[in-house]
Symmetry: C2
């Protein structure tokens, strides 16, 4: 118990974690990740090696945010989707924004982490594999939306992966300094709009199934607000609706689509 002011308790644990993290980042940037030992980090933070492993489970954990907790918050938001299919795009967008906002709040810490992960292969791998938890949560939430079964949920997996990819794309641009905070928020909306638009009608796998007739929300961050007018397209074809729908939807991107028979 060295040098801790006698009055304050409770915040001690947090302080220890913070000191360890700061010491770790400083040493990593200075000597490199591999060349820095846990002993050095602990010594620099003024604690024992045991304490390091008690606070962070491993040398890698001191770098990364608590993805499990973050993914749990994402899942919680996704759970509020209920059975209303029209709420899915908005809900997914908000869920993704939870993650983005977390990084924005971290600020320079997130940037320092990016510098590390960009240069150390081990850490990059760790970061990549950390996306699996998010993909899984989005996939599970999206299954109700695609009407697929757990073993056979290609669409849900693809869309979930696309959401995560779109988020990470924007996040990386922010990490590199290509956009500022608000720019990142706007780009996330735009990117997810692009990704989710191509799914809106893909929806249910059953050929004649219902597609959300109208999501009712005007412009959830989508680009152009449509202004009425309707068009009827008659497809005469041997191709089933299911087959042409993805292409059709993609072609119409940001246009609301309703399918009748």
């Amino acid at each position: 118990m060295p040098t801790t002011a006698a009055g304050s308790t409770g915040t001690t644990a947090t302080d220890t974690a913070t000191r360890l993290r700061e010491a770790a980042y400083a040493l990593f940037e200075q000597q490199g990740y591999a060349a820095t030992t846990v002993d050095q980090i602990a010594a620099e933070a003024g604690v024992g090696r045991t304490t390091f492993f008690r606070v962070f489970g491993s040398k890698e954990d001191v770098i990364f945010p608590d993805h499990e907790a973050l993914a749990a918050r994402v899942a919680a938001r996704l759970d509020t989707l209920g059975d209303d299919p029209g709420a899915a795009p908005l809900g997914a967008t908000e869920a993704a924004r939870i993650v983005l906002e977390h990084y924005l709040a971290e600020g320079d810490l997130a940037r320092a982490r990016y510098r590390l992960t960009a240069s150390v292969p081990t850490l990059r791998d760790r970061e990549v594999s950390s996306t699996a938890g998010y993909r899984r949560r989005f996939r599970d939430a999206l299954r109700g939306w695609t009407g697929e079964e757990p073993g056979d949920d290609l669409r849900a997996e693809v869309v979930a992966g696309s959401i995560v990819t779109a988020h990470n794309h924007v996040l990386r641009r922010w990490l590199r300094g290509a956009v500022d905070d608000d720019g990142a928020r706007r780009e996330l909306d735009r990117a997810l709009g692009l990704v989710l638009a191509s799914v809106a009608a893909t929806g249910r796998s059953g050929g004649a199934d219902q597609v959300p007739p109208d999501d009712g929300r005007p412009g959830d961050g989508r680009p152009g607000t449509p202004a009425g007018g309707s068009t009827v397209v008659v497809l005469r074809s041997g191709a089933s609706l299911e087959e042409v729908l993805p292409e059709l939807q993609a072609a119409l991107a940001r246009v609301e689509v309703r399918v009748e028979a």
Copy 2:
């Protein structure tokens, strides 16, 4: 297996590697991954511990295929795309098939690996991060297709991720025994068709840009031959019909389209 080592020397090296791999898999299935030490594997294979680390760089490497070599083959196929945008879907499908065929050829070995990765978190992470190389290769190849720049290639990233996701979805179904070899090949065609169809028209980033009017190839591995019927699609949108019509027709290429008001 994808050991590109020119066999100038005897078959000794390959034999040692094979013995080590078989010993490792046997011990892993019997005692579990964590409980098996490299010493045990080496002893079981009748070689020294040093030899193990000379042949496989790490304990994990003995399990996984040479993803780098495999991804290089994928990249080689992708390089033959040239500038013809119509060739992209076919080329991407064939590139993905290279990977699938590799696993199919592995047979039981791939299944044994799947059993391991499904139960050991460390190995699952490794497997997840190994997909990054494939995604990167597809993304780079697709950039010519989407007309995007390296720092700002959202579409290419999303499509690349979707291709890998679709492939892994089918692969996992095969690994679980849900489909046989030919079934997996067919499902890969179908899954990639679904994924790539939604991109065909998304193509170039410019909104009103030209999309390949017709790729001319009938059924590049697309699923079933359709059987007649017509479909009515109602578009409710602020976008004028003239705006969407070119894309729409391109998307439907092989489908007769009639537009009514």
